[in-house]
Structures are given as C-alpha cells and as structure tokens.
Symmetry: C2
Subunit: 478 residues, 2 copies
C-alpha cells in the first residue's frame, strides 16, 4: 500500500539531523526529546498501521512555552512538524515522515479548571478523552463525545480530527462541545480562540481549527462543555431480518424528529464478532441489529421508546430487547465499543468512515456489500447509524499483498459510493494520509484551492503535518 | 456618531461611476440595476440607523451566474462590494460606502428543494427566515433559528451574522442548523461547501463562512436543517423581585442540565414597554420576568416544568404563570418578539449584544445598570438569558447629539464589561461597523492578525464589505 506515499524528505533537514537534535535538546527539559533510533519505534505509526516511518526526533514538551519554542525553531529552519496525541488515528494523521519532528502532547495531561457554574472544563491537550468524564463523574457531569478509543485518545487529537462517538447523535461531535482553545501558531505565536461565552465576534477560527488535522497550529489547552448526566439511560436492542429494514427504520426514527442519545447499527458479521468477544447478549438469529439508547426520567424513556417501537414495528422488527440492569447495559456498550478490537482478533481490517444522508443508508449498505463481494472480500458493518456515519470494516489478510491491495481498492470504491450518494469521505476519522487523494472525488479544484489558501494563511511554508489531507499534486508552490 | 467612520472612497472608482453603471447594466437583466440617486435611498442604511451612505449602485441579480458576473467585474476593477439581504442588520453590516456596489439578494427568493427524508431544505439566499418554516409547517416541520426580524430577514443575512433567536437555546444558532452553501468567491468562482451528510473532510470552511459578515464571498444558496415540530410547547412566566434572582435562577436551570427551548429575560422597563404594546398578560408587580418555554409530550413538559419550578422556588420566585391556551402562548411570544419595535415607540435606542458566561449574568446586569446610570441614561434589558446573550437597550434622544454620544459611550462600556467578564462583544448581531474598533478589546494583535490573514485568503484586495469587522488601523496593506 505504498503507492499513496509521503512527501520526499528535505535533504537540507536530514543532513542537519545531529544539529537539530542538539538544538531541540537545549529548548526542552531533560528527558523531553526522543531521538535514539530504538526509542523512536513507538512513534513510527499510529492506529492506521499501513505505513511506518521513523521521524527525525520526537519532542515531548511540558508547557505551552516549550511547544512555542519547538515550533519557532522548526519554522525558522523549515523543518516539518507532525503533532501527535495518543497516536490512535485511524487515517494515519499522526504517522510521521523521515524529516519531521514529532511534537507529542503526551506530557501535558493536567486538568486546569473545572467550572460547574458555566459547565466547562479547561484541560491540557494531552488529557485523555475519558479522563475528563472521570474527573467530573462524581459530581454528575460528563464530556459527551465518546470515540471508541476514549480510554487512550487525547482531547488534542479529538480536536484535530473532530472526533465523534456513539453518543454524538444527541450531543454532537467535538466541534459542538468545544468552547475554546489555546493554540500555538507555526511561528511560535500563542493565540486564544473562543471562550466560555456563546459565539465569538469575527471569523470562527475555533470551528476552523476543529478538524484541521494538525495543519493550522498546535492546540495546547482546550475548554470543553460539560453535560449533566441524565436521570437514567437505557440501551435497547432491535433485531431485523435485513440490513435494509434496519436502515430504513433509522431514517424513519430521525425523520420523525426523535433524537435518541445513540442509534448504532451492526450487521450479522459484526454481531457475531462482538458477541463472541463480549458476550453482550445480542440476539444471534437476526441479520441486523440496532442499539438505540434513550435517556431521561423513566417516563421520558418510556415515552420515547414507545414511539421507536412503533416505528420499528412498521419495518418488521423481529426482536426488541431492553436491558434489564446496569450490568446488562454496560455489556451492550462493551460489545459495541470493542468492535474494532474484536474484529482484529479474527482478521486484519481497514475501517472506512464514509457518511451519507440518512435516506441513502439502505442503498449504500447494499452497494457496499456488492463492492466487497466483487473484490472477493468480506465486510462487517458496525456504525453510528443515526448520524449516517458508516464504518464498514473490510476484512483481509495483511500478509498477502494482493489481498491488501484488494482491500484498499474496495475501500476506495466504498468511499466514492458514499460521496456519489451525497455524502462524504469521513465522518470522524479524518482524511489523514489514507483518504488524501480521494479528496479530488469529494471536491472541485476550486473548492480545494480555497481550502489550501486558508491553510496557507496559517502555515505559508506548509511544514505542519505536510503529507496529509491535501492531494500532493496541485498544491501551491512554497 | 461619525467618529467610527468608513474607509475613504477610492477616487479611481468614484470617477468611473458612469462607466461602472453601464457595464453592470450589461451584466444584468432589465430592472436589476439601481443607480438613480432617488432609488438608492432605501439602500443607504440598515436597521443600525446611525450611519447613512448612498452607494455607487445596487445590483439585484436573479441567479448565481449573475452574482458571479458582478463579483468578477468588481474584482477586476477593485470596486468595493457590500452584500445585502433584507437590511435588518443591527450592527450596520449592510450599510454601504460611496464607492461600493451593493449586491442585494432580494430577487433570489426561491425554495429549491424540500427533502423530508433527510430533513433539509435548500433555498436561495434571499428567502426570508420565516418563509422556510412557513413552507414546511403543514408537514410538521420548522427551521429553528428565529431572530425577532424573522418576517423580513433573509437566510443569506442570517448566515452572514450567524443569527440566533429566542428558540436557539435548545436548537442552536445558524451555524448549528446550516448544512451547506453555494458561494461565489470574490473573483466569480463558484464553490460548494458542506452538504446533506454529517461533517465534511478537510477544513470546515462552511463554519468559517457562517458569521463572516459578507467578507469571504457571497452565498447564493443554502441547505438548512428542518426540525420536526414537537408534540406540544408551553411558555411559562416566572416573575422575580430582582434581576439578580432571575439571573441566578437561569444559571441554576442550565447548570442542572435542563435545556428548555427558550429562557428569555425581561427587566421591569422591558416588561412595561412590551406589555403596553402587546397586552401579553405579563405580571406587572415584578422586577424581572423569565419566559421559559418547554416542549414535548404533556408528560415531558410537566416533568421539565416541575424541575424548573423547584429551582425557581430556591431563588424566591414570586409569580409562576402558565399559558392556558395557544392564543395566550402566542401573545407571550408576540410581546417578547416586539420588544425592539415597542421600545422604538417610546424612545430612540441602541441595542447591545454582549454575551457572557452564565455565572456572570447577575454581575453584568448590575454593572450595566451602574454604567447606564453614570451616563445619565435609561436601559431596558430583554434577552436570551439561557445563552447568556444579553440585549441591553440603551434609551436616548437621537435628536440630541450629546445624548447620542452618551449612549454610544455607555454601549462601549457595557460591551467592555462583557468581555472583561469572560464574554464577548456580540452573540448574534455581528460586529459590523458598530463594534469594529472594540475588536481590539476582545482580541490581541496576534489573534486579529490571524483572522485577517484568513480573510485575505478569500479576498486579497479587501473589497468585500471592507469597512466592517476589523479595526481600520493595523490592517495588512493591499
């Protein structure tokens, strides 16, 4: 899968490696610069394991001022910089290149302020997603976006990718829950965007930074919205005889104006994989399963469920199974959230992240099955159906280069299908290196030129995560 | 109030007026170019009536291609362009300058598509806010953001200002309800941003355009989210003996995780003004009033109201009055939504739009009263309390230049107070020309420089609405 490729390393940077390492050491505290080849191995790739590159060095600053110093230095000498959170990117967003300094935020893990009066938390960028909720849980609050990797992934990485999660149907993705950031620009200037109040005058740079995949600057602190825990929450399983029926049911629930906390979809292969791993109690005699979570008071949950059951009935629902206890509810979610890991036990896989208008769910599921069959592969579908955010897991054998090439080709075809159905290449995993060249299928040249002009307004030299997001051909000269 | 001022007109443009008018006539259908001095009068100002300028001409194109032709022409000759919707801006966003071509979208009023399966409507930019809801109401849907000017204001103007409204507490402001746009760049290139699917890969230019006050391009079509009407909705009045109690009550409702559809605040002067106009049935023996609207099934509304009444009780609520009929509910909202017009019957006023963290509501209300008293003026407060989006109406006599100067000074002091309390200059009315110089109080030079660099990535010549948003000093040379 090497045909996508990285930008060629800059000889002028490679030849100064020793000097750069020495200079960066001087800018950072003891133990904050990794440069021995053996120590660089953990930074060679991320959760999109198709590529592997050793970076020039890894800087692990402890403060915003140190981040600024590293950026200022790299900017001065035109050294590429690849920001990195926990390295859980599924699109290769954090994979370095040989001439790059990886700027890791893993030492910046302090929760700086919790402000219940304004329902906000201000944290350093290396704080993990789950640890925000953990810090406020006892007081009855949580941070809403919940990527499956939430135990490991950092809020800085979440901002870079505008991460979502199963519970984003009701509460929105990262951009809807991010109120402000402190960010270091490529030349070392520190700016602050947003804050605790609604909106901000002038251009919405905060929204622009969210999802910018480390190309506009390096976020060192974030202020996020806290949400009060609901009185109760209940996941309910709905089993169907076909994926089409389940997909149509989802569209009708949302079309009726009902917004549960989550509507997750699993097809037969995904049900089997997750049940074998988690013993979640999923029904095994159905072709497709929806996990619908409602929340609120008992009366509110009952009311919403009644409407959903009625709609599901119109789509021939075969099994409706409510969780009977907190343990059962946790198991249902454990099964869903372990889907990627559980799949990894039985096969290699690549996970697509196409998003489509809800009316297209059934069509695109059918088209996905056809594409994968044509390439002689298998697929498991497990995804955020309420958002139209599909995650086909294409199963293949990574030790067989031909199989790997087939999987990549099938993935490309599926993403093009999503775009052609009025959708897009990525809902929450980002473009990274994986979908960079497919951006041409999503956008016209004029669309891309305008995005790149905005990118250049932050980083005229294109040194921030330069091999990612934008197709290599057609970039402005730097 | 002339000290804020506009950019000096370009002599090279003014001297070519006749030629420009002739050229633009050739680009547009019969009757689509306004240039006679008498006919220009309606375009001289907007709802921020403190300034008045006759533009060079007004182009009223009927198609995106015509918008592109006008922009391409103006771009070629460096002619300033001021986009205009319905001219309801409260910050002077649509006030022209002498050397500018006003680009009015008022002839582009077609609803292009209603797609219930995906809950979207695609409309031309000149469609009014309310007519979107009117078009889908019979089918049980509505468009959520509801500025008080919704009968007149256009969706294009809403996008330019990222408009809000009373019901945005639950449903979000324009940016949360906008899914895609067709936009013409300054050189006439047409791009499309967003679409019907969640999120979009690459940079979030759609979010950037929302609230960009006509400086990044001209939106000609928009795809917005439709929302299913709730089963029922009920506004309830809560009267308090002090603004402080009412403000603290709001903070506690939101802090408890309760999100009604709306929490509107009116102080004594606002209650008197609105009640005299609308006979809405507001209690007259209280110092502050909250209009809290809940929605859903009867059971859901009862449940939510019970929690709110309990919280209000802890803050010494004096009157709780539920609307007993649809007519009464409509009257309650008519009183609130006519606040600005009703105030205009008794005095001239300027309306501030500062937004603060909820914990600061009571403090800032107290500070506002002190500031206005110090300037020897009166104030009425009527605003979106749940969002922390304050609207003090400073009453003054526009025929007395000294009184007008005092009002402007008091307004500036109030906005600075909001910023110093962790808030911002504008929640929904935009910066326009009114708050342009105050941007220095909100942002550092580095913050502003980055915003201006992004602006320049769309409009390197700065011809789009050039006198607005960014302080005149410190701009990049063009």
């Amino acid at each position: 899968m090497e045909q996508i490729g990285f930008l060629p390393p800059k000889p002028a940077v490679l030849s100064r490696r020793r000097e750069i390492v020495g200079d960066l050491k001087d800018l950072l505290p003891e133990g904050c610069l990794v440069h021995e080849p053996r120590s660089l191995v953990p930074f060679e790739t991320d959760a999109f394991v198709s590529y592997r590159r050793a970076p020039l060095a890894v800087a692990l600053p402890e403060t915003t001022a140190q981040v600024a110093a590293v950026l200022k230095y790299c900017h001065r000498y035109g050294i590429p910089v690849v920001p990195r959170g926990a390295g859980t990117s599924l699109s290769g967003g954090a994979i370095p290149q040989e001439d790059a300094v990886v700027l890791g935020l893993s030492k910046m893990t302090r929760i700086l302020e919790v402000d219940y009066a304004n329902r906000t938390a201000t944290v350093q960028a290396g704080v993990t997603n789950l640890s925000i909720s953990d810090a406020v849980s006892a007081d009855g609050y949580f941070y809403a976006p919940d990527p499956s990797s939430q135990l490991a992934c950092t809020i800085g990485g979440n901002i870079a990718m505008n991460s979502g999660g199963a519970h984003c149907l009701k509460y929105g993705v990262t951009t809807n829950n991010l109120l402000g950031v402190k960010m270091v620009l490529v030349d070392g200037t520190v700016i602050e965007l947003g804050g605790k109040a609604l909106d901000a005058p002038g251009l919405d740079l905060l929204g622009l930074v969210c999802g910018s995949e480390g190309q506009l600057g390096v976020v060192t602190e974030a202020t996020v919205r806290l949400i009060a825990k609901p009185e109760g929450a209940r996941p309910v399983l709905f089993g169907f005889d076909s994926s089409e029926e389940a997909g149509a049911c989802v569209a009708d629930i949302i079309g009726a104006g009902i917004i549960p906390v989550a509507i997750e979809f699993m097809d037969k292969p995904a049900i089997e994989i997750c049940e074998a791993f988690a013993q979640a109690g999923y029904p095994m005699d159905v072709e497709a399963l929806l996990i619908v979570e409602v929340e609120g008071s008992e009366a509110e949950m009952d009311g919403m469920l009644q409407s959903i059951v009625e709609i599901a009935g119109r789509h021939g629902v075969k099994v409706v199974k409510e969780s009977q206890s907190a343990t059962q509810a946790a198991l249902i979610w454990r099964g869903r959230k372990s889907a990627f890991g559980a799949t990894g036990r039985i096969a290699d896989y690549i996970c697509m992240d196409g998003t489509v208008p809800l009316s297209q769910l059934s069509n695109v599921l059918r088209g996905t099955a056809e594409i994968v069959a044509r390439h002689g592969l298998r697929v498991a579908n497990v995804f955020h159906a309420g958002d139209g955010n599909m995650h086909p897991l294409i199963l293949f054998n990574a030790n067989d280069p031909e199989d790997a090439a087939r999987a990549e080709a099938a993935g490309n075809d599926i993403l093009k299908l999503c775009v052609d159905a009025g959708g897009c290449l990525t809902g929450e995993h980002g473009v990274g290196i994986e979908k960079r060249e497919l951006m041409r299928h999503q956008y016209t040249d004029a669309d891309l030129a305008q995005q790149m002009a905005v990118r250049a307004a932050f980083d005229p030299q294109w040194i921030l995560n330069p091999s990612k997001v934008f197709p290599l051909e057609g970039r402005p000269a730097v």
